[in-house]
C-alpha cells in the first residue's frame, strides 16, 4: 500500500504531516502509522467496522425517527407507514435492523480479538474497561430499540426482559422481605415507568434509545479512540520485525483503508437489506404471548439459563461474568510478553482449545442430564426453590467452569492461562445455551430436536 508515492521525497511527506495535523477529521489519526498497524491481520479492521456501523445507525436512525411516533396507539402503524409508504423507508429500516445485529456481533468479535491478543496490559487497562462498558451500552441500545415497533415480539421480549431485571425478587421472596424491601421490583419499575409494559415504558425506551445511550456511546467512542493513541498505538508483540514497524504517513494510506472498509460495510448492508426484510409481527397483544416467546439472539443464552432459575440466570451469573470481564486486567498483569500475541503462543492455543472442549462438554452434559432428571421435592416450597437455584444446568455449568479454571491455574500457575480458560469456557457455554435457545426450544419452551 505504501509503495505508490514513496519517491516523492521529504518535502511531500512534510506537506502531508501538515495536512494531517491541521485537518480536524484527519487529526483523529496519529501523523504516522506503522505498517504493522495497517496490516489487515492485526485488528481485522473490527474497530473501524464498528465505527462505520455506528455511523450508519445514526444516519438511518434519524431518518426513521422523523416518521416514527412513540405512542402505544400509533407506534405500530407508524412503522408500517415507514415500510409501505415512506419512499425508501423499508430499506432504511432493514439496514437499521441488520446493522444493529451486526453491531452487537462485531462488538463481541472485537472483544475476542482484544482479549486473545492480550491488549489489556499496563495503561491499556482503561481502554479495556471502557470497552466492556461500551459492549453493555451497545446491548442496551439494541434491546431498547426492540420495543419501539410495538409488535408481539417487542412487547413480550420487553416483558420478559424487565422481569429478568426484577429477578432479585426471587431472593427477597425466599427470605420473605419483598413486602418491605424490593430492589428487584424497584429496578423493574424504573425501567417500565409503572407495573406493566405500557405508554410510560415506550416513552422511557424511546428516550434511552434515541438520546441517552447514543450520546453516551458517542462520548465513549471518542475516548476509546483517543486512548489508543495515549497507550502508544495498537498492542504489538515485542518480536515484531523492524521491517513491519516502518512508519508511513497516516494520510492517505490509513484513510483509504478506512474508506474501503466503510464502502464494503455499506455495500454488504445494502445487499442484505434488499434481500432480507426486518421482521415485524402482528400488533402487540398484552393477553397472548407468542409461543415460544424468544428474546433477540444475543440475550437467548441468558433466557435459556433464566428458564432454569430467574435469580441465578438473570442476576447472579450475568453479574458475575461482567464483574469478571472488568477484573481481567487487574488479575492478569503478566504484561508485555503476551501483548499483541495471538493466544500468547502455543501454550495459550492449547489452553484455549481445551477450554472450548471443557466448556462444551460441561454445558452439553448438564443440559442433557436436566432433560432426564427431575428434582425431587414439593414444587413451590422454599427448599425446592433453593435446590433448583443450585442444581440447574446454568449454575452447575458455571461452577464447573470455575473448577476447570482452578485446575488450569494450578497446573500452569499462569494468570494469563487462567483468564484464557475462564473466558473461553464461559463464552463457549454461553454460545451453546444460545444455540439451545435458538434451535432446540419449541412451544412452551419444551426441548425439541
Amino acid at each position: 500500500m505504501a509503495g505508490t508515492e514513496q519517491s516523492t521525497g521529504k518535502e511531500r511527506v512534510g506537506e502531508r504531516l501538515r495536512n494531517v495535523s491541521q485537518n480536524f477529521v484527519l487529526h483523529i489519526h496519529s501523523p504516522n502509522v506503522s505498517t504493522y498497524a495497517l496490516s489487515p491481520f492485526t485488528t481485522m479492521g473490527l474497530g473501524v467496522i464498528l465505527i462505520c456501523l455506528f455511523a450508519i445507525q445514526l444516519a438511518t436512525g434519524m431518518l426513521l425517527m422523523i416518521h416514527y411516533t412513540p405512542s402505544v396507539d400509533a407506534a405500530y402503524f407508524s412503522v408500517k407507514e415507514i415500510i409501505f409508504y415512506v419512499p425508501g423507508g423499508w430499506i432504511f429500516r432493514n439496514i437499521h435492523r441488520w446493522s444493529a445485529h451486526a453491531l452487537v456481533f462485531i462488538t463481541f468479535l472485537h472483544m475476542f480479538r482484544t482479549f486473545y491478543k492480550g491488549s489489556y496490559y499496563g495503561t491499556r487497562k482503561t481502554n479495556w474497561v471502557v470497552g466492556v462498558i461500551m459492549l453493555l451500552i451497545v446491548m442496551m441500545m439494541s434491546f431498547s430499540g426492540y420495543l419501539l415497533p410495538w409488535d408481539q415480539l417487542a412487547y413480550w421480549a420487553v416483558t420478559i426482559g424487565s422481569n429478568i431485571a426484577a429477578a432479585f425478587r426471587e431472593f427477597t421472596d425466599l427470605i420473605g422481605v419483598t413486602g418491605y424491601v424490593d430492589p428487584g421490583g424497584f429496578i423493574r419499575k424504573m425501567l417500565l415507568g409503572g407495573e406493566n409494559v405500557g405508554q410510560n415504558t415506550l416513552t422511557r425506551f424511546f428516550t434511552l434509545h434515541v438520546i441517552v445511550l447514543p450520546v453516551t456511546l458517542l462520548g465513549l467512542i471518542g475516548y476509546h479512540i483517543w486512548r489508543i493513541r495515549k497507550d502508544g498505538g495498537l498492542a504489538r508483540p515485542a518480536s515484531t520485525p523492524d521491517s513491519s514497524l516502518e512508519e508511513i504517513p497516516a494520510w492517505p494510506t490509513a484513510l483509504w483503508a478506512e474508506v474501503a472498509i466503510l464502502l464494503s460495510v455499506v455495500g454488504i448492508l445494502l445487499i442484505v437489506g434488499v434481500l432480507a426484510d426486518a421482521p415485524l409481527k402482528i400488533l402487540a397483544n398484552p393477553n397472548l404471548p407468542d409461543n415460544p416467546a424468544k428474546s433477540p439472539w444475543y440475550l437467548l443464552g441468558i433466557q435459556e439459563i433464566v428458564s432454569y432459575s430467574a435469580f441465578m440466570g438473570g442476576f447472579v451469573i450475568p453479574l458475575f461474568f461482567v464483574a469478571f470481564l472488568f477484573y481481567i486486567p487487574w488479575f492478569d498483569r503478566e504484561g508485555e510478553i503476551h501483548s499483541g500475541v495471538w493466544f500468547s503462543g502455543k501454550d495459550g492455543i492449547r489452553t484455549t482449545s481445551l477450554s472450548v472442549l471443557a466448556g462444551g462438554i460441561i454445558t452439553i452434559s448438564f443440559v442433557a442430564l436436566s432433560l432426564f432428571i427431575d428434582l425431587p421435592g414439593d414444587k413451590g416450597s422454599p427448599q425446592y426453590i433453593i435446590l433448583s437455584m443450585i442444581l440447574n444446568p446454568g449454575t452447575l455449568s458455571v461452577m464447573a467452569y470455575l473448577f476447570w479454571t482452578l485446575f488450569v491455574y494450578h497446573s500452569t500457575s499462569s494468570r494469563r492461562m487462567t483468564v484464557l480458560a475462564l473466558f473461553t469456557a464461559f463464552m463457549t457455554g454461553w454460545t451453546i445455551f444460545m444455540i439451545i435457545g435458538l434451535w432446540f426450544r419449541g412451544e412452551n419452551w419444551h426441548f425439541i430436536l
Partner: protein, 155 residues
C-alpha cells in the same frame, strides 16, 4: 502552580478560593443528584387495583373464564366465585389454560387447576384474589388482597 507555593503549610489565597470553588461545585452537584434521580422514579401510577368484573350470572358454573383486561381467571362453582391471576410468577407472561391446568408459553412453567406450580421455573403459585359483592350485586376483585385458593365469594 508549584512556584507560587513557597511556604507549603500556608494555603495561598488563590488555592483557598480554588478549593472553595471546587467544594461548592461538587456540593451543588451532589445535592442535585437525589432530586434528579427522584424525578426519574415513576410517579404514582394510576392503576386501579379494584376491578369490577360483572355479575355472578355472567359466568358459567364450573368453568374458568379468562378476563383479558385485568388478566384474571374467574372460577364459579356451587360454593361461589373466585379469581386467580393469569400472570406467570416467573417472568410475567400470560398463562394458557389446558385440560390439566395452566401452562406458560414463555418458559414452560406448569400449574394445576388450583394454580399450584407443577413444574418449570416458576417460583410461586399463581395468587388468588379477594372477591366481594358490591351493593348492586356486581362483583369486584381486589388485586391487593390475596386469599387461599379455597376462598369463595358467596353469591
Amino acid at each position: 502552580m508549584e512556584a507560587e507555593e513557597e511556604e507549603p503549610n500556608v494555603v495561598s489565597r488563590r488555592m483557598f478560593f480554588r478549593h472553595l470553588s471546587w467544594s461548592l461545585l461538587s456540593f451543588a452537584g451532589l445535592a442535585a443528584v437525589p432530586f434528579v434521580l427522584s424525578s426519574v422514579i415513576p410517579r404514582k401510577v394510576i392503576e386501579n387495583k379494584r376491578v369490577r368484573i360483572g355479575r355472578p350470572g355472567d359466568f358459567p358454573i364450573n368453568r374458568m373464564i379468562f378476563l383479558p383486561k385485568p388478566r384474571l381467571f374467574i372460577l364459579r362453582d356451587h360454593k361461589g366465585i373466585a379469581a386467580m391471576s393469569a400472570v406467570c410468577t416467573h417472568l410475567g407472561c400470560v398463562v394458557d389454560q389446558d385440560t390439566s391446568g395452566f401452562q406458560c408459553p414463555c418458559h414452560g412453567s406448569c400449574f394445576n387447576q388450583g394454580g399450584m406450580v407443577k413444574s418449570g421455573p416458576a417460583p410461586r403459585n399463581l395468587p388468588w384474589f379477594k372477591v366481594i359483592t358490591l351493593p348492586d350485586q356486581s362483583l369486584e376483585v381486589n388485586l391487593h388482597r390475596t386469599v387461599s385458593p379455597e376462598t369463595r365469594c358467596k353469591t
